[in-house]
């Protein structure tokens, strides 16, 4: 499983960081920074929640990669 983000379309509202702080962070402009593109399985639920709550839909998970 590999996480992808599209930084160009991120609006910087930080929902991903609130939900999964070990996986996502924000830079000084608020834009998402991926801390861990292959997090441990205990992060799965938080990552899924971030995917569905991200207001711009710019986080997606590639199950096969």
């Amino acid at each position: 499983m590999k996480i992808n983000v599209d930084r160009d379309a991120c609006c910087g509202a930080g929902q991903c960081v609130l939900l999964a702080p070990d996986v996502f962070d924000q830079d000084e402009e608020g834009i998402v920074v991926l801390l861990d593109e292959r997090p441990a399985a205990d992060q799965d639920f938080a990552v899924q929640e971030a995917v569905s709550m991200c207001p711009t839909g710019v986080i997606w998970v590639d199950q096969n990669a």
């Binding site: 910087g12 930080g14 929902q15 609130l18 402009e29 834009i31 929640e49």
Partner: protein, 401 residues
């Protein structure tokens, strides 16, 4: 033309949505409506359509003159007026957002949490000390968000009492006359201009000082006028919405007291319960507007260029196609991709802050006043009318002393 639906749809029920939402979603997901301005607009009520419209980068929220405005005022009301001057242009808007975002990142907001918690507890202690019944709006729902946003921006404590009026007039559709609104806007603008100049002379550790320092370093993204407009927008955006949601959230939890009891029994539900209160909110106000300036098609209906499209976030939040048991409040619902903060590039900049404030207030009340209950029947609580942000004027509560 008289068969046009008036929007907003009047509803006389405090914590139930108007039945028209379900009919519209089922039978008329792309509906023609008449707004308070007298003009025609197109209303969307299904989750997928609303989300697609909000995230469509082609369409912004500024309605040009000649387009259908929202309010009864001459200038069409709030959505025709952009204090920041950046909303009409996508690139400018994005540059502005990235600048202001810095203050509202999740980590910076979390760093504020202990201070917000202390403030919330103090307000609750004062309310308890004064004895019940009490009105939760002036005791807690209103002063907490005002304090938070004024701290962030650096507005001095002794100058805060005019904000409620300025903010109410800024978000008015029908409640105030055009004269009152223009006068209030001017007064608010003059106040902010003076504050920005004062910060320039004597910077503090706050957002206005940070922004004005960038202007003075000739950052091309900003002018002094943008700083003034941004500060005004943040003051309005940062308190009215959060204050009214605190009251609405508490009305939902206390109006059906089994919900409150569930929270008291299991405070770990606070986070998901806050999200569910945002989704469930039947008084979520006007919704969000987009100016569609090219011919498009939504759900098989063609929308001609030059249409004001209103997205009902609240109706979309009750769409069974997205939310199982959409008309049931489920305090543990996860994930909860509701649209109460909008979606896409214009979605709420302050949502991390708003969520943090709401979670703190709810957790503090659950912890400190588990016996809290409404002092009157929820249907008899007076509500604000004619404002874009709907809500309660007061919320009488009592507790075991």
């Amino acid at each position: 033309m008289s068969d046009l639906l008036d929007y907003p749809i009047p509803s006389d029920r405090a914590i139930e949505p108007p039945p028209e939402w379900e009919e519209l979603r089922q039978q008329c997901p792309v509906a023609k409506v008449r707004l308070a301005s007298g003009g025609e607009a197109t209303l969307l009520t299904r989750y997928d359509d609303v989300r697609a419209m909000l995230t469509d980068g082609r369409f912004g929220r500024v309605i040009p003159s000649g387009g259908t405005g929202v309010g009864s005022q001459d200038d069409g009301g709030t959505f025709s007026n952009d204090p920041t001057g950046v909303m009409a242009d996508e690139e400018q808007h994005q540059a502005w957002r990235r600048l202001v975002n810095a203050t509202f990142t999740a980590k910076r907001v979390q760093a504020l949490a202990p201070g917000i918690t202390a403030r919330a507890e103090r307000l609750i202690d004062d309310m308890l000390a004064a004895g019940g019944p009490a009105d939760l709006v002036p005791a807690l729902a209103f002063p907490l968000p005002v304090w938070v946003i004024c701290e962030l921006l650096g507005v001095p404590e002794d100058q805060r009492e005019r904000f409620p009026y300025w903010s109410d007039t800024a978000l008015s559709t029908t409640r105030y006359s055009q004269e009152e609104i223009s006068a209030a806007r001017q007064e608010f603008g003059a106040y902010m201009a003076a504050l920005v100049e004062a910060k320039r002379a004597q910077p503090g550790d706050d957002l206005i000082s940070e922004l004005i320092a960038l202007v003075d370093q000739n950052d091309p993204r900003l002018t002094a006028q943008t700083v003034i407009g941004t500060s005004m927008a943040l003051l309005v955006a940062g308190h009215e919405t959060t204050a009214s949601h605190i009251a609405k959230m508490m009305a939902l939890f206390l109006g059906d007291r089994s919900r409150w009891e569930r929270l008291v029994a299991d405070p770990s539900l606070v986070r998901s319960a806050v999200e569910e209160s945002l989704r469930f909110d039947p008084n979520a106000g006007f919704g969000m507007v987009r100016w569609v300036d090219e011919d498009i098609e939504i759900a098989g209906e063609s929308i001609p260029a030059g249409t004001t499209v209103v997205c009902s976030l609240a109706a979309a939040n009750r769409d069974e196609g997205t939310f199982e048991g959409a008309d049931e409040m489920d305090l543990g619902r996860r994930p909860n991709p509701h649209l109460s903060f909008g979606a896409g590039a214009y979605s709420c900049l302050g949502q991390s802050l708003a969520r943090t404030e709401l979670q703190i207030v709810l957790a503090a009340l659950v912890r400190k006043v588990p016996s809290l209950e409404l002092a009157v029947d929820v249907e008899s609580v007076p509500r604000k009318e004619g404002l874009l942000v709907a809500g309660f004027d007061e919320l009488p509560v009592k507790w075991e002393e």
